[in-house]
Amino acid sequence: MTAHFRKYLKSFSIAAAAAMLFTPLAAVAQTASTTASNDRWLHVRVVSSDNKGETVRVNVPLELAEKVLPAINKDRLHNGKITIDRSEMEGVDCRALLAAIKDTKDGEFVTVQAHDSDVKVAKQGGYMLVHVVEKRWAEGKDGKEIKDGKSTEKSRVEVKVPMKVVEALFSAGKDELDIVAALRALSAHGDTELVSVKDEDNTVRVWLDSKNSSD
């Protein structure tokens, strides 16, 4: 009887110890499986082409950013909103501009073709598109531009933001950008490339998907 009891006690102790040890792991695994399918991750990757070849990768779950941002109150950031300095806007009423764009059909709104750069702002398929190409002109030995020389691309910036996100961004007060609302709107979107910058020194990519790593 005692031997049976001891055997039973030993088995119970081992099982209890194992259960205690693995309970946190089981909880972790369960959380992992539930979060993996629903989470939206914002990724930023900066690859520098200088001597050190620095690469920066940042992966942030949108939900985490939504919760954390309102807790940061520093400088212009308060309750997940950024206050815009009117003087920086140079008289441009972004909200009025956005309201006008919102009700307009798809098309190119701004096209600037200058000597140094080309700029395009358009609305297409529910996205706001901004393309900026900076040009570099061929130079002679004296460092001056060659007359009738060809230009090459110095840098290219491409921004593709869902209109709903832009609307959410400007949904707060007149002089505020609601970052949290924008993130919330962004989380409803599928995988998308948001920003791409390529110049001589750096390549920057900002995109959204459901993976928790950038590669």
Binding site: S13, A17, M20, L21, T23, P24, L25, V28, A29, T31, A32, T35, D39, S48, N51, K52, G53, E54, T55, V56, R57, V58, N59, V60, P61, E63, L64, K67, V68, A71, I72, N212, S213, S214
Partner: protein
């Protein structure tokens, strides 16, 4: 026979205490300075010990720490709560010729790894421990 029972009881208690202590994981800190005569610090402590040890910190010292970290505490609390949802993820990674920085969460533990010319620093802290500490500090400062 009595001695055997006592020994069994002692071993059982020790095993139980060990399991309880380590189930929350451990906090690890490894620091290696590469310069000659540089310090090498390697230690680990069971995570469950930290909240318990906080009870022995004098009130005035704890209040001093709370005051200093006052603005950051709510933020740390939210981050720790949210990080529980992401038990395995790489959040920040910086790689260059002479520097590697990585902030990640693996199996519910925050890993901070920094390697450069001068130092190697590796810190591992269970997310649950950070929550416990924040909660503990909050309770203590409210009680005062």
């Amino acid at each position: 026979m009595i001695l055997a029972k006592l020994a069994l009881g002692a071993v059982g208690t020790l095993a139980f205490a060990t399991v309880y202590t380590f189930r929350e994981g451990t906090i690890r800190v490894d620091v290696d300075e590469h310069r000659s005569g540089g310090s090498h610090v390697h230690f680990w402590v069971p995570a469950t010990v930290v909240p318990a040890a906080l009870h022995f910190v004098p009130d005035d010292k704890l209040q001093e720490a709370v005051d200093r970290a006052h603005d950051a505490l709510p933020l740390v609390k939210i981050v720790a709560e949210e990080l529980e949802k992401y038990p395995n993820a790489d959040f920040v990674q910086v790689d260059s010729e002479d520097q590697h920085v990585k902030v990640s969460v693996h199996s519910g533990k925050i890993h901070v790894d920094v390697q450069d010319h001068d130092n190697d620093v590796h810190v591992v802290v269970p997310v649950a421990t950070i929550q416990d500490v924040i909660e503990n500090i909050g309770n203590r400062s409210h009680a005062q």
